[in-house]
């Protein structure tokens, strides 16, 4: 009897795409993190891998707090956050209107989308030498790398967000007396806002990736540079700290976006 019950229980945990009790879900999440940590501890503390390649968790945590207590490190964080936001902001300021335009008018689509599609496949990192020729190695260069990496992607995704609005919604507004401009301003834009926020959230992730690319190649400050510098001195702990800090910053920004989305658009179906 007991055995049968246990068997049935197993089956319910492995139903395709069905929900499982929250308790089991969190067990899975914590098991994965603990396993990862265990492997790390095993490899580093038992000296299965040389300390130079893989520092112990305790050393990384120590180094993490040491970094956070130094004002210089906050300076590095600050300059990196500044670059990401500038590149991202620039991409949004230009990319969102262009994306909406491309998703609204077929003629604009023909001008904007194929070109963006084409450039999107050119790796942003490959532009770095060119950007250095054009813009030197100052702030503009780093912001430009982030901009190029996120802009074309953003235009395509915003155009798609705009395109996904059901045509009947637009027809309905016409029959309620809306003119073309009102259809754009009072229907298309409000209808796409939640999707736009989700798109911006995704693009923000891309922007961080390109920040590191830009700072690894040509910078003398910032988080990417601090990772690069640490590598030169074989300071693996600091490399770990750099990666973790970037990950945490990304996570914090992502959660902020999710929270704002939920607060601003309580009407959106599906949730975030």
């Amino acid at each position: 009897m007991e055995l049968q019950k246990g068997k049935r229980h197993q089956w319910t945990l492995f139903k395709i795409r069905e929900d499982i009790p929250k308790k089991w879900y969190f067990t899975g999440v914590s098991a994965a993190f603990i396993l990862l940590l265990l492997i790390w501890i095993l490899l580093s503390n038992l000296k299965l891998v040389d300390e130079v390649f893989l520092p112990t968790p305790a050393a990384v945590v120590g180094s993490f707090f040491a970094a956070l207590s130094s004002p210089e490190y906050w300076g590095e964080i600050g300059i990196s956050v500044y670059r990401v936001f500038m590149g991202f902001l620039l991409a949004c300021l230009l990319g969102i209107p262009l994306g909406i335009l491309a998703g609204t008018f077929k003629l604009a689509e023909s001008v904007i989308l194929p070109v963006s599609e084409f450039i999107r496949y050119m790796p942003a990192a490959a532009f770095i030498p060119l950007i250095m020729v054009w813009a030197g190695i100052g702030e503009t260069a780093k912001i430009l790398v982030i901009f190029i990496g996120s802009f074309f992607q953003l235009v395509l995704m915003v155009a798609d967000d705009t395109n996904r609005i059901h045509k009947d919604l637009l027809y309905a507004s016409y029959t309620l007396g809306a003119n073309r401009w009102q259809v754009i301003s009072k229907v298309i834009i409000p209808a796409m806002l939640p999707k736009l926020m989700t798109t911006m959230r995704l693009i923000m992730g891309w922007a961080w990736t390109y920040l590191v690319v830009a700072e690894l190649v040509a910078a003398n400050n910032g988080l990417g540079y601090s990772i690069m510098k640490a590598q030169r001195f074989m300071d693996t702990e600091s490399i770990f700290v750099g990666i973790i800090v970037i990950g945490l910053l990304g996570l914090i920004i992502d959660r902020c976006f999710a929270y704002i989305n939920k607060k601003l658009f309580p009407w959106a179906e599906g949730g975030n």
Binding site: H166, D168, A172, T175, G177, K186, P190, A191, E269
Partner: protein, 264 residues
């Protein structure tokens, strides 16, 4: 005096509200062209409830979209209130089969959407939306968003939203097509009550014979490929009383006749 009013009322009801003459619509496709409508002529009188009935692909929705001004005819004339239709306008309200509620607006804001576009003051808007919220029985949901409503409730909002604009005609494109049987029935009754109260001219698209017979005064039966009108049927036969079928024999006769038309 009373007779004069009555006479005027009759005159108003006899007035032709919608007049379509020799309407054709040809779509260009990758391999040639496709004739969606061929020489369609029909009329709808003021305050009349007319259904256009036909199988899918017969172009009945195309007629409605052309009437709304959302599509252009290839040839022929389409007049509403004596004016050629040149583009969409608030004078011709439309209810779609898909739910077209603006999800970022509450039920009340949805109903007031057209009024706000007209620049109407908030106080006036509220009076009108109150009235139509009551008409469709959604007073309690005035501040709800679309995602909190059932399919039937969403369509009630869509009807209220169109009527709040006080259109000359209400165009309905299979509005109850996505609803379950019970909801569909109560919505049909509600629509009939609204029509009697509001005296709106209604053009109703459906492929459901029972629905057309229950709702309309006249029915145009269409065939597909190319879309053509087969017959105009008088459906003002007192078949129903208080929503109940009372003349089963006559109902079955008309229904059989329509079925044979559609089979041919």
């Amino acid at each position: 005096m009373l007779n004069a009013i009555k006479a005027e009322k009759n005159l108003r009801q006899e007035k032709i509200e919608i007049n379509i003459q020799n309407l054709s619509k040809v779509y260009k496709t990758n391999n040639g062209s496709f004739q969606a409508l061929e020489n369609v002529s029909l009329y709808v009188k003021n305050e009349e409830f007319v259904s256009i009935l036909g199988p899918s692909g017969c172009g009945k929705s195309t007629i409605l979209r052309i009437l709304a001004g959302l599509e252009e005819p290839t040839s022929g004339s389409v007049q509403v209130s004596g004016e050629e239709v040149k583009g969409p306008s608030a004078k011709r309200g439309m209810v779609f089969q898909s739910y077209t509620l603006f999800p970022w607006l509450t039920v009340r804001e949805n109903i007031e959407f057209g009024l706000k576009l007209k620049g109407m003051k908030q106080k006036e808007r509220k009076e009108i939306s109150d009235r139509y919220l009551e008409l469709v029985g959604l007073e309690r949901f005035a501040d709800s968003y679309g995602k909190e409503l059932s399919g039937g409730m969403k369509q009630r909002v869509a009807i209220a939203r169109s009527l709040a604009n006080n259109p000359e005609v209400l165009l309905m494109d299979e509005p109850f097509g996505a609803l379950d049987a019970q909801t569909k029935q109560s919505m049909q009754q509600l629509l009939l009550d609204i029509w009697k109260k509001e005296k709106t001219t209604i053009v109703f698209i459906t492929h459901d014979i029972d629905e057309a017979l229950f709702l309309s005064q006249r029915i145009y039966v269409m065939e597909a490929r190319p879309g053509r009108i087969l017959e105009e049927i008088d459906a003002d036969l007192q078949l129903f009383q208080d929503g109940e079928l009372v003349d089963v024999e006559k109902f079955m006769n008309v229904k059989k006749h329509i079925i044979s038309l559609l089979k041919h």
